[in-house]
């Protein structure tokens, strides 16, 4: 399987994502430079974290205009798998591939720490390998991670089961105290209506190796590769 990691100027988790995809998950990875138009026939696209274009404007607001995003959008519209983490999630929201927006954290500070998230269901591309209800310890690292969507959008998302991860405590309770950034209804990760575009603020690539003493994030990558392998078989 061949995967593409998009690199914007200012991306800084690109190498971490590439490391996990290639060295931990053992798949071929190509770098997709933001000025490129060629997606190199990849089977899935990953948008890594970082500060694309410095994020001096709204996070992700400029990156969505990079030449490669045109191709990413076309790829997604044809049903291709796209996964954004942190800044990648912000860019997907800015580009309209995912609903909602990411606002400044309630405490107006950058927050980097381990938090817990819980998956809603286990039949999507990013959570099929996760035991229902299990709290995963996965770090966050962002200044603008407070998820927001207006009521109509939120209702529609709920109807379509588009909300995939909620912030919770270590016992899987979704509480206000367990919400690190003020996200609406503790939302940590969502997908589009067609369930082929995914975004989350926590960094699963930072919790996927024994050397870091935390492999909870690997369950998300396991899920993704279960899904991708199946969808390739079905082709």
């Amino acid at each position: 399987m061949k995967l593409g990691v998009v690199i914007f100027p200012g991306s800084n988790c690109d190498k971490d994502m590439i490391h996990v995809l290639s060295n931990v998950m053992k798949h071929e990875v190509v770098e997709l430079w933001h000025k490129d138009h060629d997606l190199q026939n990849v089977d899935g696209i990953f948008l890594p974290g970082g500060f694309s274009f410095g994020d001096y404007l709204r996070s992700g607001a400029i990156a969505r205009y990079s030449p490669i995003m045109k191709e990413v959008i076309a790829f997604a519209n044809k049903g291709g798998f796209v996964f954004g983490v942190c800044n990648g999630f912000q860019i997907l929201c800015e580009s309209g591939l995912l609903p909602g927006a990411l606002l400044h954290n309630t405490n107006q500070k950058f927050i980097c720490k381990n938090i817990y998230i819980k998956s809603s269901g286990n039949n999507s591309a990013v959570n099929n390998a996760i035991d229902n209800g299990k709290a995963l310890k996965i770090p966050i690292a962002h200044g603008e991670g407070k998820y927001y969507a207006d009521k109509n959008v939120l209702d529609e998302m709920k109807q379509n089961n588009q909300i995939l991860f909620h912030y919770c405590d270590e016992n899987s309770n979704v509480t206000e105290e367990a919400n690190p950034n003020g996200s609406l209804e503790n939302i940590a990760g969502v997908c589009n209506k067609n369930k082929n575009v995914f975004g989350m603020m926590p960094h699963p690539e930072r919790a996927s190796e024994g050397i870091l003493k935390n492999t909870d994030g690997k369950l998300i990558f396991d899920s993704i590769f279960n899904y991708l392998e199946k969808s390739i078989e079905n082709k």
């Binding site: 500060f51 410095g54 980097c112 960094h203």
Partner: protein, 740 residues
């Protein structure tokens, strides 16, 4: 203005002494113009020239078989870490800018130190920072702390290098002059480094990165004078940082080295273009002819001297190989960065600057730099009266507390001891997925070296109370504590970088502190075989208010690099299992000198340095190394600020494990619990492995004894309940935030 003749008055205004001005006259054989005078004033400033410190710095040990680039040779030291890899690391201060503009001051400190690392071809993989502020209850301190932390966070987080360690201390002496010391650590493959050299007549000189503006002009001079009440007027001397440009510059710089089209590269930090031109030329015994009209500018109407002195950030000076210009330009074009040829290398020892068609400055390159023509001074020093007064301290005059639980609870919430969570969580500590401490803390920051069996161990340490009390012993302790942190984490100390923060060097008592600290540091580095690979000196850390100078506590921050040859040997500081036995390796003395307890509970500032003996230190560390490499113990944590009580508490926090111990009846209970006598490490061991521990410890020439065991959720000392570990954790974690 640029070309007008100058007088001694101009020289004095720019910070040059009469003697130095005369030296300029004799070097040039004529009166300099204003531009030339500016060049000498910044290059001969304390900050750029080390004129008052260099003779003492030369006494520090610099050599060792692990050292690949020695102190002073390049922008940072380089150490062999095996596997064909080298580690480049350095610590630097940004104190004065942070005192007047904490956000930009701290941010550009982070930017500057990282450029020092990647200008050598190394990719930064870890950062640490050592911060010192005044009383946390003052509004000014809160403003400084918030600004500095946010500045470090905004710059470092976007740049994408994890913070893996550091310190935050509070003491009244830093009230208006905080210390902001930033350390960066990078890795480079042997053979992929690049030198800060200029040579080869006719080779093109490039300026790359950000455009040049009027920010930071005379920054080096600003950093070389006392802060005073009107220092806020010097805000234009503070630079403005752009981490996005820095990130692009990093990627482009590492990429351009790989083309092989470069001769040399140096970042632009203090003293801007003039510093990089002169240092690179001096190194290559050559000169440069530069056309300032080619420099990309941020604003119109900049004078030549402003361009030469500007400390605009995120810029590099490159010397390329003639004929290969297009390879260099292609890389910077990819990253959308400026890349302009501004001149060429010439044979003579001469820097010629042209502006609007006219020669505006012509000076011999070598006369500007350290080791060339820059002045070197020996300063006088005298022992201050306070030193002997401190020795008069008598522990029997200090009343023992009636209620130890009360003291313990206050101490764990003291700003110097309580968790620095409020600070650390604003930093990205996990980007690059190499921080091995995230889920299992160790005394030193442990950074995975991907693709090898090794990990780096990194720490910054300095207890300035000890150094104030006895500069020589205090600085030795700073080195010893750094080594102890590395050893407790399973590493072997390799080398240090230092950031020497002191008062005015023309004050003999402040200089006495500097001299003592250098002696103590040098002795300790020799004993640990950790050569000094570089760093920086920051004098003039004092504030004059209404004519009275208030110096900061002398603070020679030690940044130490260690190596775990086998990363699976990483030892954490946390208790693992209930009923594990707790041993103290080393001996507790009847000593509360300069402890946090004596300072904050009894409010006594005058006392000697705590007990320290280098032979005992080495023996203790040696035993703990063996206990770790033989996989005997389950945790190791060194005893530092707050004494044994705080050490036990910290070991219990991660896994919510309490302890049940007995104190030593031969010494005062406050000395046992809160004293800070040195060379002590608390370890935990399973009952099954106790005999192995005893075998190893008995072979070492050390004192050690059983304190008790890991037990339940309570902290029990001499059968008295000191509280629940979960509640203590909540207090310890939130105390600082509540004060801010």
């Amino acid at each position: 203005m640029s070309n007008r003749q100058v007088t001694i008055k101009d020289a004095t205004k720019l910070g040059l002494t009469t003697e130095e001005y005369d030296k300029v006259l004799s070097i040039l054989g004529r009166v300099p113009n204003y531009t030339e005078l500016c060049l000498y004033s910044v290059m001969w400033s304390e900050h750029a020239s080390y004129k008052n410190s260099i003779n003492w710095l030369k006494t520090l040990p610099r050599e060792g078989e692990q050292i690949m680039v020695e102190a002073g040779e390049e922008n940072a030291g380089m150490v062999d870490i095996g596997d064909g890899l080298a580690c480049v690391f350095k610590i630097e201060s940004h104190n004065h800018p942070s005192a007047v503009e904490p956000y930009q001051g701290a941010a550009t400190g982070v930017g500057g130190i990282n450029r020092d690392i990647f200008t050598m071809g190394a990719r930064p993989i870890a950062q640490l920072n050592s911060l010192r502020f005044g009383n946390i209850e003052s509004d000014r301190t809160k403003w400084l702390l918030k600004g500095v932390v946010r500045g470090i966070a905004d710059y470092g987080n976007a740049f994408g290098v994890p913070v893996v360690g550091g310190e935050v201390y509070f003491d009244d002496s830093y009230s208006t002059n905080p210390l902001v010391n930033a350390m960066s650590v990078g890795i480079v493959k042997e053979g992929e480094t690049i030198s800060a050299i200029s040579e080869g007549v006719g080779n093109p000189v490039f300026i790359v990165g950000s455009s040049t503006g009027k920010d930071g002009i005379h920054g080096a001079t600003f950093a070389s004078a006392d802060l005073h009440e009107d220092s806020a007027d010097d805000i234009p001397s503070v630079q403005v940082g752009d981490p996005f440009q820095e990130k692009l510059l990093l990627e482009a710089s590492l990429e351009v080295i790989k083309t092989g089209a470069l001769v040399g590269m140096q970042d632009m930090g203090a003293a801007g273009i003039i510093c990089s031109c002169s240092e690179m030329s001096e190194k290559g015994n050559s000169g440069m002819k530069i056309n300032l009209d080619k420099v990309p500018l941020r604003q119109e109407n900049m004078e030549a001297w402003e361009m030469l002195l500007s400390e605009s950030q995120e810029r590099m000076l490159l010397v390329g190989k003639k004929g290969r210009e297009s390879e260099i330009e292609a890389v910077f074009d990819k990253w959308d960065l400026n890349c302009k040829i501004i001149g060429e290398v010439i044979a003579e020892d001469k820097l010629e600057y042209f502006h609007k068609g006219k020669l505006v400055a012509e000076v011999p390159a070598s006369t500007l730099v350290l080791g060339g023509g820059a002045p070197v001074y020996d300063r006088e020093y005298t022992e201050p009266a306070y030193y002997k007064e401190n020795l008069k301290f008598d522990i029997s005059q200090i009343t023992e507390p009636n209620n130890y639980v009360e003291v313990a609870n206050a101490l764990l919430k003291a700003p110097n001891i309580a968790s620095k969570k409020w600070v650390i969580e604003q930093y990205d500590t996990m980007v690059q997925t190499n921080n091995m401490n995230t889920n299992e803390p160790s005394d030193a920051g442990i950074v995975d070296v991907r693709g090898t069996d090794t990990a780096l161990a990194l720490t910054t340490d300095c207890n300035s109370r000890y150094v104030y009390s006895d500069p020589e012993q205090g600085a030795s302790i700073a080195v010893a504590e750094a080594a102890r942190n590395i050893v407790c984490s399973g590493g072997e100390p390799l080398a240090i970088t230092n950031c020497l923060n002191f008062g005015n060097p023309y004050n003999p008592e402040a200089f006495w502190q500097f001299v003592g600290a250098i002696k103590g540091m040098g002795d300790a580095c020799k004993r640990f075989n950790t050569p000094v690979t570089g760093g920086n000196v920051s004098f003039y850390n004092q504030t004059s208010i209404k004519g009275v100078n208030i110096p900061v506590y002398p603070t020679p921050t030690i940044g130490m690099l260690g190596l775990l040859k086998d990363k699976t040997n990483k030892m954490s500081l946390s208790f693992k299992n209930e009923d594990d036995l707790i041993y103290l390796i080393g001996e507790t003395k009847n000593d509360i000198s300069q402890s946090e307890y004596l300072n904050t509970w009894h409010k006594v500032r005058k006392s000697p340095v705590p007990y320290f003996n280098m032979d005992e230190e080495l023996a203790v560390q040696d035993v703990v190394k063996k206990l770790i490499s033989s996989k005997v113990i389950n945790s190791a944590h060194d005893v530092s600020e707050g004494g044994i009580f705080i050490t036990l508490l910290e070991s219990g926090l991660t896994n919510n494990l309490g302890f049940d111990i007995k104190s030593d009846k031969n010494i005062r209970k406050d000395a046992f619990l809160f004293g800070e006598s040195q060379s002590r490490i608390i370890v935990s061991v399973s009952k099954q492995k106790e005999k192995e521990l005893l075998d190893i410890a008995n072979l070492g020439n050390i004192q050690f004894n059983l304190l008790g065991k890991v037990a339940g959720s309570k902290m029990i000392i001499d059968n008295e309940n000191f509280g629940d570990i979960k509640i203590a954790k909540e207090d310890y974690d939130t105390a600082l935030e509540k004060l801010i």
